[in-house]
Amino acid sequence: MIVELGHFLLVLALVASLVQSTLPVAGTLRRNSQLMDLASSGALIVFLLVVMAYSALTWAYASSDFSVINVWENSHSQMPMIYKISGVWGNHEGSMMLWLLILVFFTALVAIFGGNLPKSLKSNVLVVQGWIATAFLLFILVTSNPFTRASAVMGPVPPPAEGRDLNPVLQDFGLAVHPPLLYLGYVGFSVCFSFAIAALIDKRIDAAWARWVRPWALLAWTFLTLGIAMGSYWAYYELGWGGWWFWDPVENASFMPWLIGTALLHSALVMEKREALKIWTILLSILAFSLSLLGTFLVRSGVLTSVHAFASDPSRGVFILVILSIFIGGAFSLFALRAPSLTQGGLFQPVSREGSLVLNNLILVVATGAVLTGTLYPMLLEALTGEKISVGAPFFNLAFGWLMVPLFIVLPFGPLLAWKRGDLAGASRKLATAFVISLALGLVVWIATGNAPMVAAVGLIAGFFLVFGALTDLWIRASFLKVGFATGLKRLAGLPRSAIGTMLAHFGVGITVLGVVIVSTWSTEHILEMKPGEKTDVDGYTVVFDRETRGQGPNYSEEVAHFTVFKGERQVAETNSAKRVYTARQMPTTEAGIMTFGFSQLYVSIGDPTGDGKLVVRIWWKPWILFIWGGAVLMAIGGFVSLSDRRLRVGAPARRAQGTPRPAAGAA
């Protein structure tokens, strides 16, 4: 009964969403505020309905109701409860439900916290959000209904006694965290998109608009950062061979909105402070969400070969393609129609805060273009000529890596340049110490480790420069030398949160870059055959294979190998590495044993027995690998810190009276 109710609530949500996305339009046209208010109440009602429908589906999973096809295909009564609940989004239908839930969640947030927006703008934003929600509600109800019972398809059949189990790779805590975080980011950009469309419809685009959009962009970006980092760490420990980024099309699909989102954060800043880059910022807002939609299409339509692609059905691909073309095509047509009539901001000095932000945008957008090319080209080529090619990691490493180098070199200069007219010589003097230290550290590490490639030295210097550049920024703001340590600290504490957030995020970029460079250059791999009692030396550690045991989990059986690690004579760590076979699907997985030493890790995974009583063992030394995700976490913390600043200002009356634009400074 609850399942049918869930389906019914979803249909009701579609009706409410249609109301939310149509009637308020009449309200804005006639300046009827009651009709406009319908958008807010509609958004809240849709949110409640979707939450209840989603809970109904979760209930079906929690109670292992295998008469529902979706539950039968993706769950198992013996599965731990947390995987039953997170398993809701571990399949196509459920993950679309999560997508929708998060979309209407953001819409409701705009309805609740958008009190300071002009009425017509708020109503328009909610209407556009309503269109998106309607499209995805239709998509779910027509092609991907998670509530379908087996009896509705195959006639009266008794419900299966047992489910087919969730894909074992997904039976992990990572599944509970990664998709919700990722979607909070991905789908969060829909708000920026809706703001852009609403502003284009209204033809009112000014600094206040940027101030309203920026917190949403920041929120989405922060979650996306965490979501991508979490996905990367999950792949690292779950897939059993220690890779942390594959340039898999699905990863690229989440990485492109992140890159454009990063550009958007920075260009919105210019728009807010200098009322320039308006058209560009609008374009980025549209692009960020368009790339999210493209990602959804790539992942959910089955055109891709990927870990993330669940079984596919061609009708879904076509449906999402239609949604994609309507929203992206519509948005860009509206943009093309309205952009020429928007007032241009003034030109400005190339050497200035805004100039450096423009450079940031240029590089990020070009880098996105490179990733997009590598991701879509093979698909387009196959569609057009039938020829199958693969563009692998080497392409992305080369193209993306080298595009990032200039960005990392100019990044520390940005925050040190003043708005309007920057002092490049002054900024260089301030950064000279940081640069010399980075150069020295990079070269020392590079020479000390012997035959590492030249690229490693470049990467190290860039990473150190980012780290010390961010610290220089703080050092100068505190001016410890002039005012002494205590006053300096007080000054730091008194800095605006957004400045601290910026510093943290830039520092985090440096940390991630260092991690990536060090792991890529100095990680070592050892593949050997071992029998219990044997030991081997790995980068200064002695790894001993103690014993092998058999174990039994709730829905799998496993072979467990136990390892102890010694440094000299002292035991420093121990771990289990296992090979599991999940009963329902007879599917094997590798559970790696991971030991952390400082920021580095030893990663052990076992392969098959060799026949003569030995076991194939793979051991990796991954130096400083935690820096990769640590840096991303720092970026996200920077995002939250900066958001906490914004909250204070968001309520302030923002839009200046029309007709008194700030003079376009710097345009002398």
């Binding site: 059993g240 990927s306 692609a309 030109l347 190339p350 490179a370 563009v391 050997l528 997985t589």
Partner: protein
Amino acid sequence: MSRKQKRLALIGGGVAFLMAAVILIMFAFSQSVAYFYVPSDLKTANVQPETRIRLGGLVKDGSWQRGQGMHESFEVTDTIGTVKVNYTGILPDLFREGQGVVAEGKLVSLDPPVFQADTVLAKHDETYMPKDVADRLKDKGVELSGKETIK
């Protein structure tokens, strides 16, 4: 500089950067694109040794041999042609005889065809058949059992 000159300088700088980026991207492309073949394509397509390619097909029944150390060898077939593949490392959990596989690497000899793989892919689902392999095998008229999930 006048306003106009400044604008020109900015645009010029932007265009120069874009051109450099495009050249970089094209260079990276030429370095790392791998074409996909099934065994019977190799002769007709005139693939030269040392070219990086992806080879897809089914792992021939009874062909999987585990050598000393981590040396694995198996044969990849599309029922018309067969190529011997050498690989050093641990094969994926889901590598099995009779199932689809994609190997990336290069040909080391044309006659008889021998392929040295540096990457072997078999994906994360027990009935998985790589879409590239499935499409190409269907073109060649190979019957699939229908149990494979084609993604």
